[in-house]
Amino acid sequence: MVENRPWLTVFSHVVLCLGVLVTALPIWIAFVASTHPADSMLSGRTPLLPGGNMLENYATVLGSGVKAAGSIPVGTMLWNSFVMALMIAVGKIAISIIAAYAIVYFRFPLRKTCFWVIFITLMLPVEVRILPTFGVVASLDMLNSYWGLSVPLIASATATFLFRQFFLTVPEELAEAARIDGAGPLKFFRDILLPLSRTNIAALFVILFIFGWNQYLWPLLVTTDEGFYTIVMGIQRMLQAEDAEPAWHEIMATSMLAMLPPVLVVVFMQRLFVKGLIEQEK
């Protein structure tokens, strides 16, 4: 149905534009701030146009880090965040797809119970089980390590559930045809199920990578060694710097850098997404 109501069109565009402004303005201001020298953000008048210190500011944060916050180079923190997010995303997908495979395709005692036990863990996010988890990680000597940052966050009921739902839509005959074709359980998983799950994996990877990247509370607890600080907690530490004005230009530059990888992941994976959607055949 095509309706021709000019005022409605104008109105909806205005609403949409306002929405874009509300979302984009803070990011723009953060970008502008990251290109000015230190004093222009503190002068009381927020500049709206980029300044001339962009290269300098970014070089500082990437190279030597923010002095007031202990001078950890942002590059290191970005790398830590990246490793953590990647380990969490890959680990979550690997474990949940295997768990879902077992639950859907194998008959074993307490199969239903297993599924529900996994499902119930949805009620226990990191924040709820943070003390016992910290205890376990500490006694396993995993504090200040990439394993400590990622392993406790890897088990995922959501991803297991999503893969389970997907596997249930795969026609049973496909598994039977593969059995007749001489594919054992592992071969079926590798040759048939995994390629079919490609789009689901890509979608989940995007979501889980960003989930991992944005972790704040857990890295704050398990890292005391600056070498393992992640970017999200790093920004917060810059703000808390004692006896100094917050170095807004450098903080904003760091924020911009922190935003970049998730954006890249979304942009890059989006293409895989669409490709997968077009090729999907049922």
């Binding site: 593969a178 074709d181 001489g182 594919a183 090729e279």
Partner: protein
């Protein structure tokens, strides 16, 4: 290649449902056997037991000389064509056909040769790089057949392979399957609920009902002498007319209920009480003059099919439930309300025992 044998095969599901009540049968080498029956009669279960996708509760299935009850599907040397084809959606047509051979560690050039050969037979040469999603229903069906052929199995198992195709394509593929099976000479088991498919494809038919093989025989044997009421009603289209009646007192004829008429033939054996069910196929009822008529039918509805017309009506004075269908020549004009006088040749009258449904012979 090899024959196939069922020895007292039974299937009981874990929840206690009995799907197959004991099948004994031997399929000889190269034979095309069709298992036909209504949905839920156990025909697919039987086929899946041969494939190894269902366990055999009791009895034995042999392929060639070997008992296969405990063998994995892949080790039974069979190939199966599924109703929804079950092609691997992410693989090309070539890979779909080659997958089973690769798993069997067939040499690469041998795979290429067999796939090319099958593609030639099935006219799939130009499509080997396509994905199943880019093919039409008939082409997918062919790929599924190709996947079975390249295995060079001892037996083909077809699980309603044509039911997802439109009517015209179905007729065409039916012929192709038959031709292919003749050419390859591979023993085949074919499950369908479509009796036309069953009649046209089969060397021998198994008519199943509620887990029991009601009759096993060639299509014409079954058509000419159905062993039970169920088989009589299931095979033949439109279905056989059933009229209840009694054996005439002098034993020389059959008296239909009401004043429906008398047939000048009597069953070879008469059951206790003399109650019988008379079965006459619609195509065996012939319009005749009133004097020669064995029964008269009041016409209610006429379906003109062109070559012939199906006349649906009630037996005149036949009491309730004496519906009769007659197939008459399409050139004959019949209208609702007419009274048709009909006769039937004695050898086309079937008698059944109403109590156990068995043919009276």
């Amino acid at each position: 290649m090899a024959g196939l044998e069922f020895v007292g095969v039974r299937k009981t599901y874990p929840n206690g449902v009995k799907a197959i009540h004991g099948i004994d049968m031997a399929v000889s080498d190269g034979e095309f056997v069709v298992i036909v029956g209504p949905s839920g009669c156990g025909k697919s279960t039987l086929l899946r037991m041969v494939a190894g996708l269902e366990t055999v509760t009791e009895g034995e299935i042999r392929i060639g000389e070997n008992r296969v009850n405990e063998l994995e599907p892949a080790d039974r040397n069979i190939a199966m064509v599924f109703q929804n084809y079950a092609l691997y959606p992410h693989m090309s047509v070539f890979d779909n056909m080659a997958y089973g051979l690769r798993n069997r560690r067939t040499p690469r050039n041998e795979i290429a040769r067999r796939v090319a050969e099958a593609a030639g037979t099935l006219q799939l040469e130009g499509l080997l790089d396509r994905r199943p999603g880019q093919l039409s229903g008939g082409q997918r069906q062919r790929v599924a057949m190709g996947r079975a052929i390249v295995r060079e199995p001892e037996a083909f198992l077809f699980d309603e392979p044509l039911s997802n195709l439109d009517a015209k394509l179905r007729v065409q593929m039916r012929l192709e399957i038959k031709r292919l099976q003749r050419a390859l000479g591979t023993t085949s088991l074919y499950v369908t609920h479509d009796q036309v498919e069953a009649m046209t494809l089969a060397d021998r038919l198994i008519v199943m009902n509620a887990g029991v093989a009601e009759q096993i025989g060639t299509p014409l044997e079954i058509y000419d002498a159905p062993a039970t009421l169920f088989v009589a009603g299931f095979i033949g289209s439109p279905a056989m007319n059933f009229l209840s009646g009694t054996v005439a007192e002098d034993g020389t004829g059959a008296q239909l209920d009401g004043s429906g008429g008398t047939l000048p033939v009597a069953p070879p054996a008469s059951p206790d009480g003399g109650r019988i069910v008379v079965g006459i196929r619609p195509e065996h009822l012939e319009p005749v003059s009133r004097e020669e008529a064995a029964l008269e039918v009041v016409v209610e509805l006429v379906e003109a099919l062109g070559a012939d017309s199906l006349v649906h009506g009630q037996l005149a004075d036949g009491g309730e439930g004496a519906a009769v269908t007659v197939r008459v020549d399409g050139a004959r004009r019949v209208a609702a309300g007419d009274v048709l006088s009909l006769a039937v040749a004695p050898n086309h009258v079937h008698f059944f025992n109403p109590d156990d449904g068995k043919r009276l012979a």
